[in-house]
């Protein structure tokens, strides 16, 4: 059918063919970079691209509120460049093509200067071409699988080396874990993270027999078999731990099953990368005391900055119990970095802001100062927290300093030679072996 159609186009009447050709030529001519016309407006528009309905609303709604809160705070301080910030909220409804559509709408119709948004990798992948094409800025606040460094995207969540690897190190050293269950939901983040961890563990001398990898579908709710398998795997006489990359919704039934089958943290600790304060709020945490999570931020961390943030956040949401979590902190850092960059170049022009952002420093909420790196990732501290009975985390370990995020993982065959450098090399996938931009080359 399609061949016929394309054929039909070429054999259309001469006038149409002419128009089509003219169209293509015009199209190519018109695809020059397009910068939002902001100067005329007296506000700076900030796009918020988080799902407010559908399956991801559970995680993303809070982030929308966070940005609204941050904008509100910034406006109280007088806005940016003497202009007030104005939030433009859209609902991509957990629908990936809709993410792309809404991103396009935000940039071309609403002419936003920057977009804060996305949670899942697929939503980021979906909007990526749009941001590249229309040359705008996306701040992505969630820990992800890495293997990406794009000019238009700033990754304020953790890369695998800022979360997964320190957590495994901790378990090896502190808990003397010898046997590993890598359990995850079957999507790209767990797949990649587990690939990286598998390679890392093997490099540390862990045998293949001592690694069990298990994938479950999204929203998996019947964990009986898998928990029993974990129990069995853990009874081989070596200290066993579970590294969980299980995605949001499936965690509650997973932990409930763990608790009920009597797997205690002292027997088989579970370290999770996707379970934060928000997820624990839906759980009775008493049976889970001692299970771990690795993040770059915990609500329970006692620093003045964090205490102030929590107080103001709870006042803003008029909910004294409202929790905070890691992706919120990522947005906090990202937002402040953007404000600083805009103030530095005195413009919201994306090209200028993108160039200004690497090197910008902004305080995080855990007492350090995070820095935007040339690969568009940031430096972050890594904390390991144990679940407490009140649904908060008790930090039991942290990295001595801030860990710079690696865009490309050293453990993966395909990316071990790659780096992202948007300052010197102006390239997201610079190959250090061949000294060329563009991956491995052929």
């Amino acid at each position: 059918m399609l061949t016929q159609l394309t054929h039909a186009i070429t054999t259309m009447t001469r006038r149409r063919a002419l128009a089509a050709t003219a169209g293509l030529v015009l199209g190519l001519a018109a695809s020059s970079p397009f910068s939002p016309a902001l100067a005329a407006d007296d506000t700076i528009k900030v796009g918020i691209l988080h799902s407010l309905s559908g399956t991801m609303a559970i995680s993303e709604t809070t982030l929308k509120d966070t940005i609204l809160f941050l904008i509100d705070e910034q406006n109280k301080k007088g806005g940016v460049l003497g202009k007030k910030l104005e939030a433009v909220v859209v609902d991509p409804a957990s629908n990936w093509p809709l993410f792309a559509e809404k991103a396009r709408e935000l940039i071309t119709k609403d002419k936003v200067a920057v977009v804060f948004g996305c949670w899942t990798s697929v939503s980021r992948k979906s909007v990526l071409p749009v941001f590249k094409e229309l040359n705008n800025i996306l701040f992505y606040p969630v820990q992800y699988e890495g293997e990406e460094s794009e000019r238009n995207v700033f990754y304020t969540g953790a890369a695998p080396n800022q979360q997964a690897i320190p957590a495994v190190d901790y378990l090896m050293k502190e808990e003397k874990v010898k046997r590993w269950v890598l359990a995850g939901t079957d999507y790209v983040y767990p797949r990649t993270t587990n690939k990286i961890l598998e390679a890392y563990l093997k490099s540390k001398g862990v045998a293949q027999d001592d690694i069990m990898i298990n994938y479950t579908p999204f929203g998996h709710s019947d964990w009986q078999t898998i928990v029993a398998d974990i129990k069995k795997f853990g009874s081989a006489g070596k200290k066993t731990a579970v590294v969980s990359t299980i995605n949001g919704d499936a965690n509650v039934p997973f932990y409930k099953e763990l608790g009920n089958q009597g797997i205690k943290a002292t027997d088989i600790p579970v370290v999770a990368f996707s379970v934060g304060e928000e997820e624990l709020a839906g759980l009775d945490t008493k049976p889970l005391v001692g299970h771990l999570a690795a993040w770059n931020y915990f609500e329970s961390i006692k620093t003045p900055a964090n205490e102030k943030f929590i107080k103001e956040w709870q006042a803003y949401t008029k909910n004294p119990k409202r929790t905070t979590n890691d992706p919120m902190e990522a947005h906090y850092i990202g937002f402040n970095m953007w404000v600083k960059a805009v103030e530095k170049v005195k413009s919201t022009d994306p090209d200028k802001v993108i160039d200004a952002l690497p090197g910008i420093e902004a305080p995080n909420l855990t007492g350090g100062v995070s820095k935007m790196l040339p690969n568009h990732h940031i430096t972050k501290p890594v904390f390991i927290g144990e679940i407490k009975a009140d649904g908060q985390f008790d930090v039991v370990w942290k990295t001595p300093g801030l860990v710079p995020g690696d865009a490309w993982s050293k453990e993966l065959e395909g990316s071990k030679d790659l780096i992202g450098d948007w300052v010197g090399k102006k390239c997201g996938n610079w190959n250090t072996k061949t000294n060329k931009c563009g991956g491995q080359g052929s």
Binding site: M1, L2, T3, L5, T6, I9, A20, G23, L24, V25, L26, G27, L28, A30, S31, L52, S53, V90, D91, P92, A93, W96, P97, L98, A100, E101, K102, R104, T108, K109, T120, S121, V122, K125, S126, L128, P129, V130, K132, E147, D186, Y187, V188, R191, T192, K195, Y215, P217, F218, L412, G414, S415, L418, G428, N429, G438, G439, Q440, G441, S442
Partner: protein, 389 residues
């Protein structure tokens, strides 16, 4: 297709529809490309892409209306055919990326590189040729529909049973495509396309051409549907819908008819999916989600089941509403609006927009002795015990 089928099928409403689509198909790209950006009539590129999406959905709606509106087969899994067509096109687009992927691997798509795949799985062979991919766009959904239909219609699975197993089919495919081991990119799907037939997919010209192509495909699909439903075959289909066993006792091999339209409809859905993918820039397993298929059925119901124009219109209206409601201050409440729309349409406009308009016009025109009764009888292929009056 012989000409007399086509000419016979064109009544005034159909001609108007074709004219409108053709005009849109030409005017929107022209306005986008030729008029200056400030002009009031200028259609921005994002709207071209958006309308391109609507047009693809309209083709999908037509394909559903053909089997549901005319043959009484309610498929709750038509999104699967749409998605399969989309994947076939997506695979072609992936192969076109070549060494421009982030890892620069000339053969393997990026997701295979970082999951350490050493070579291209066999089922990806051939997709670097457009002609092959285009063939697969028709063949894969068609073949699946043929096999599925052959099994189901031969054993006379009808009504809700059929609906539920079509749902099971798309759900199974959803789970399968989610699996990264399956080799289609898992949850992330296929994305980051560069070009199609040598043209940059993001260029405005390509977008406009794709839009034009989609409109053309919609017209062709519409004419095909018209040709089918206005032929004697169409009468048989309606006969099957209204009284299946009567048709059988007249000596019609009902399962062949069902199989024919079901397969045809799946191919149409596949084409819709194939045109959809380069315009939205991503294909991902969530297209298989049963909810999507149900929603597509609802477009048809809203527009008017059993009226081809209505199906296409319904797809555009519902999706436009969705676009409209998901931005701005109404965003948090859009599901209320959408849900309410569905409820109100089924309660107040059981014949859909076009169906209601048609019967209103018929009432106006004639004394309308038969219209009401007839269209009441047309209501449903699967009749449950009637309520007592």
């Amino acid at each position: 297709m012989t000409p007399h089928i086509l000419t016979r099928s064109l009544d005034r409403a159909a001609a108007t529809f074709i004219l409108v689509v053709a005009t849109l198909g030409v005017l929107i790209p022209l306005s986008n490309l030729l008029l200056p950006q400030g002009s009031a009539l200028h259609v921005p590129t994002y709207l071209v892409a958006l309308w391109g999406k609507y047009v693809c959905y309209a083709i999908l709606a037509l394909s559903i209306d053909l089997i549901w509106g005319y043959c009484g087969i309610l498929s709750l899994g038509h999104g699967a055919f749409f998605a399969l067509g989309g994947y076939a096109m997506g695979m072609y687009l992936m192969r076109q990326i070549g060494s421009r992927g982030v890892y620069g691997n000339p053969v393997l798509p990026d997701f295979m590189v970082f999951l350490n795949w050493s070579k291209l799985p066999w089922y990806w062979y051939g997709f670097d040729h457009f002609a092959f991919a285009a063939l697969m766009v028709l063949l894969v959904p068609g073949l699946l529909a043929f096999c599925f239909g052959w099994l189901a219609f031969r054993s006379r699975v009808t009504g809700v049973y059929l609906s539920i197993i079509t749902q099971a089919m798309t759900y199974a495919l959803l789970l399968a495509f989610f699996r990264n081991d399956f080799g289609f990119g898992g949850n992330n799907g296929l994305t980051d396309f560069k070009d199609i037939l040598g043209f940059n997919v993001q260029a405005e010209g390509t977008r406009c051409a794709l839009f034009l192509l989609s409109c053309l495909a919609l017209i062709i699909a519409f004419m095909m549907c018209r040709a089918v439903v206005s032929s004697k075959l169409g009468k048989v289909l309606i006969a099957v819908r209204d009284a299946e066993s009567r048709t059988r006792f007249l000596g019609y091999r009902v399962e062949s008819y069902k199989l024919f339209v079901f397969t045809l409809s799946a191919c149409m859905a596949g084409v819709a999916g194939a045109l959809y993918v380069p315009q939205v820039g991503i294909i991902n397993p969530s297209e298989f989600a049963p909810g999507n298929s149900i929603e597509a059925v609802i477009w048809v119901a809203v527009g008017g089941r059993g009226t081809l124009v209505g199906a296409a219109l319904g797809a555009v209206v519902v999706n436009y509403a969705k676009t409209f409601f998901t931005s701005g201050p109404l965003a948090p409440y859009w599901l209320f609006m959408l849900g309410a729309l569905f409820i109100l349409v089924t309660l107040l406009l059981p014949k859909g927009i076009v169906g209601t308009f048609n019967s209103w016009r018929e009432n106006q025109r004639s004394t309308g002795i038969a219209a009401d009764e007839a269209s009441a009888a047309r209501e449903d292929g699967v009749r449950a015990p009637k309520m007592a009056e």
